[in-house]
Every structure is written in C-alpha cells, then in structure tokens.
Symmetry: C2
Subunit: 246 residues, 2 copies
DNA sequence: TATAGTTAGTGTTGTTTTAACACTTAATTA
DNA sequence: TAATTAAGTGTTAAAACAACACTAACTATA
C-alpha cells in the first residue's frame, strides 16, 4: 500500500546500467505513441525510469522501490549522484510532448533526484507498469524526453568517478565471473585499454577478489577461472588505503 | 528583484567551510531566542545557511546566490554533494522549535539540496539578512536544527573524497599561500599527518602550484615562499592522470 | 648586538607500484 | 588431429612512496 506522493514536483530518476558482455547499456522506458491510421510513430518518447517519492519513505527507499518494481531485485548497487531542476526542464522544444505523461503543469518544473544503479542483467525479467522497457547501448542512446540526456551524461561521469575509487565493476556481472569479463567492464566504462597482466597483478594485490574452483563451461577455448567478490575482505582492506592529490 | 520561490518545500543548503590557520570551520546562522525576562536563551537554534530556489534560476544559481548574499563573493568553490529528504526531518524531537522559522507546516518535510563551499576567510564581511552569523570549528559543532548535523556530516565526507581527487585545498587560502599552510589544510581535513618533504615532492610533480617571488612578512622565523595555483596548468595536466581501483 | 626561538627548506635510500612487452596452455570445432 | 580462440603467466626499467634529520633565515629579547 503505497502512500501519497510527497510532492508532485519531486521525483527520483534511476539511470540503470547493465552490461551485455560487450557494451555498457542503459535501461529506457519507451512510451512512443503510434498513430492509429498511419501506423507511424507520432513521436518517440524514451525516458529513464523514475517515480515520485511517497510520504513515508526516504529518497533512497523511493529509488530502491523503482528498481524493485522493475526488476524484482532488492540488493542492487545504487548511488545518488546529482539533483536536477533546470528552469526550462519542461519547456524543451516547446511542444506538447512533455504533457502527455501525467498532465502536470508544464510551467512547473520537476526536481529530479538522480540515482544510478548497476545490474547484473542475466536472467532478470523486466516489468514496468505494463510499459515497454528495453536495454539500449549507451553509445546508441538518441534523444530522450525531458532533460534525461543530461541526467544520463552526469550519471556516466559519476559512474566513471566512482569506479576509479571503489571496486564496483563486479556489480554488473553474475556472482561468479572471470577476470577478463571484469577487465572488459573497466575498459568499456573508462574508454581505455588495459594490459592483461598488469590488471591481474593489481587484482592480486587487492585481496577481495577470491578465486573459486569453478571454470567457465561451453567456451571454445581455454576456460577461465571464476572469481567472487568478498565484501568482508574489502571492508577490511579499504581502511588501509590512503592517497590524495595535492 | 528575486522571483517567487519555485516551491516552498525545496531549498538549497550550503555548508560553508573556512580555515582559520588551525582548524576547519563551518559557518552557522544563530537564531537563538533570548527570553526577555530571564535573559537566558530559550533554546539554541543553529542552522546552516540556505534558501529556496527561485522560479527563474537553476539550483546552482540559488546556491551561488546564498553565498553571494552572505559574503559578497562570486567566484567561490561550490559543489553539490547530496540531496536530503528524510520523512521525519521536521519532526525531530517533536518540539515547537522547528516551527519558528517561517511557519511551514511541520508535517510537510523539506527537500534539501546540499552544497558545500570553500571560502578564503580573510577579510570578508559577513552579512546574512540581519542575522547572527559565525564561524564554528567543525570539531566543536553541537546540535543543529533540522537534520543539519547529518547534512554537515555528509558534507565532510564529500569534502574528504573531493580533496583526495582534486586540488581544492588552496580554495581555503588567500591567493598567495605557503606550502606549510596548504599542507596543514590537508592534515586537518584528512585527519592525518603528512611528511613535509614528501608533501613538497608531490607538489613539485604537479606543475600547477607556481612559486612567486614573494615571501611571508612579519613572522618571527624564516619567512615562507608564497605560491599561487595555476588553473591553466591544472586543466592541462589533469587530463594526463589516470588510475583506478579494481 | 648576540643569542634564543621558531618555522622554512632541502636529499637519500629502500620498497612498492607502474608500464611495457610475448609465449604457452586448454578447451572447442572442423 | 589440426586449427582456432581466449586464458594465464614473469621480467625489467622507471616512477612513486615512505621514512628519516639537519641547516637557513627571520624576529624578539636580553
């Protein structure tokens, strides 16, 4: 039994990132209307996932609720990265597109609290209030509704900053993963190439990536050993880290 | 001519940090009421500085406006670090304290967009809508109104993270400063001691701290050479930096 | 004007991290 | 059983880090 929205003009928006083995993807809601007579789309309407905050929940709870409603998952990596409220948020292009969603006054702008999430995308079923939800590679995202292009841009910046500081890459992978998969995630997110041997030496120094006895199966080459992330070891070791930029 | 507030329940709150040569300080507004008959304070009421967002400005402009109204300064370091909206923000302690400010409905919570600012505190005059504004060492901050203790806590965390990544320490100092002053700022913010020689070697590697011909005057010891920060050099060199945590 | 007090400023060494680089191994498929 | 593919592994030179102690330059005061 959800409560009343706290305020019609405040919402959380979640930039949900996934990884398909090649590219970084983002989850978008497609509410494109199709013209009944011509069968052509009247206009495209792609958005991030978001919702209002209810009266009795924290912002963070609202963001987790959005994610749970969509994926059924509860333990998802989630990070509040920035809040947006540009004066002409709703006036973009001055067309009626932005009115269709829920009839909000287009002169009132919405304050949008941005979160980004990292999902391991294998075997989750997507369901979002009966709407059409789809993964889109970040490099192929076109024009989004509202200021969602800007929010996505900032989410990417926040993700890149975060992954430089904390080991969160594995959040995009299944529980057990190979080091090559992990390296790929860093390469894709940071748009760089990394040396395989140096990457693995760095991982060996960090103690929190634990090799298992398992190996990949069904691949037409030497199967990779699978690793798991140990949060306990990480929590211990991160306190030892200390460095700074003058 | 300021516009109407966008929304009564959204505000920016600025955690303004300063440095007095010894300690990290934060700027607080004291609206403590004094009981007319006894002369005793009826209760203390210390808050961060904040304001509503006007209709025609961005969140960031609102934050800069708060800072300008207070200090008369325009080029201040400012960073949006987190947004707060705990359901019982205004219900804390269940007393009438939180009602006095402007008569807002205490059942409606306020969404507060948190910024932190770094000020060089020498020779600025503080003026805040006729209110009593004062510097308080961060270590001596007691109970604040609303959830401002939590906001300050998070601002400190954000400041520590930021200063580990970007050279922002000098923002708390006059334009020309000594390396010992700068080192002290890092020690205070990061709660650590740094080796003088290693600190200076690190600075030498970064090229953007430029020695001037000037020296300290009026000190009863060998006068320190003064340095300036070069934004141009920094913008060039920062693109070269690349490192990450697995 | 000499001396005491105070902070500025400077180099070396051993250890750790980085960056660059190529071949062998183990599985599948043809 | 040969071809294909990605996994996995070690060395070296350069840079960064951490730990450590003395001399220089100014003021205050005796």
């Amino acid at each position: 039994m959800p409560g009343r929205p706290l305020n019609d003009y405040i919402s959380v928006d979640c930039v949900i990132f996934g990884y398909n083995g090649q590219e970084l993807q983002v989850l978008l809601v497609d509410r494109t209307l199709t013209n009944n007579s011509t069968g052509q789309p009247e206009f495209t309407d792609l958005t991030l996932t978001g919702n209002h905050i209810y009266e009795d929940e924290t912002i963070e709870q609202a963001a987790y609720r959005v994610l749970f409603d969509l994926t059924g998952l509860k333990n998802v990596f989630l990070d509040q990265f920035k809040t947006f409220a540009h004066p002409d948020r709703l006036k973009k292009e001055n067309d009626r597109r932005w009115l269709i969603h829920d009839g909000r006054d287009p002169d009132k702008r919405i304050v949008s609290i941005g979160y980004f999430a990292l999902l391991a995308t294998q075997n989750i079923t997507l369901e979002w209030k009966g709407r059409n939800v789809k993964w889109v590679p970040v490099s192929e995202v076109g024009e989004l509704a509202f200021d969602h292009n800007q929010i996505l841009e900032e989410a990417l910046i926040a993700l890149r900053n975060k992954i430089k500081q904390e080991p969160i890459g594995f959040e995009l992978l299944p529980e057990k993963f190979s080091l090559t998969q992990l390296q790929n995630i860093y390469e894709v997110i940071l748009s760089t190439e990394l040396d395989k041997r140096n990457f693995r030496k760095k991982i060996a120094r960090m103690k929190y990536l634990i090799p298992t006895d398992e190996k990949q199966t069904g691949v037409a080459h030497k199967p990779a050993r699978l690793y798991v992330f140990s949060r306990e070891v990480y929590e211990k070791t991160k306190k030892e880290l200390f460095d700074f930029t003058v």
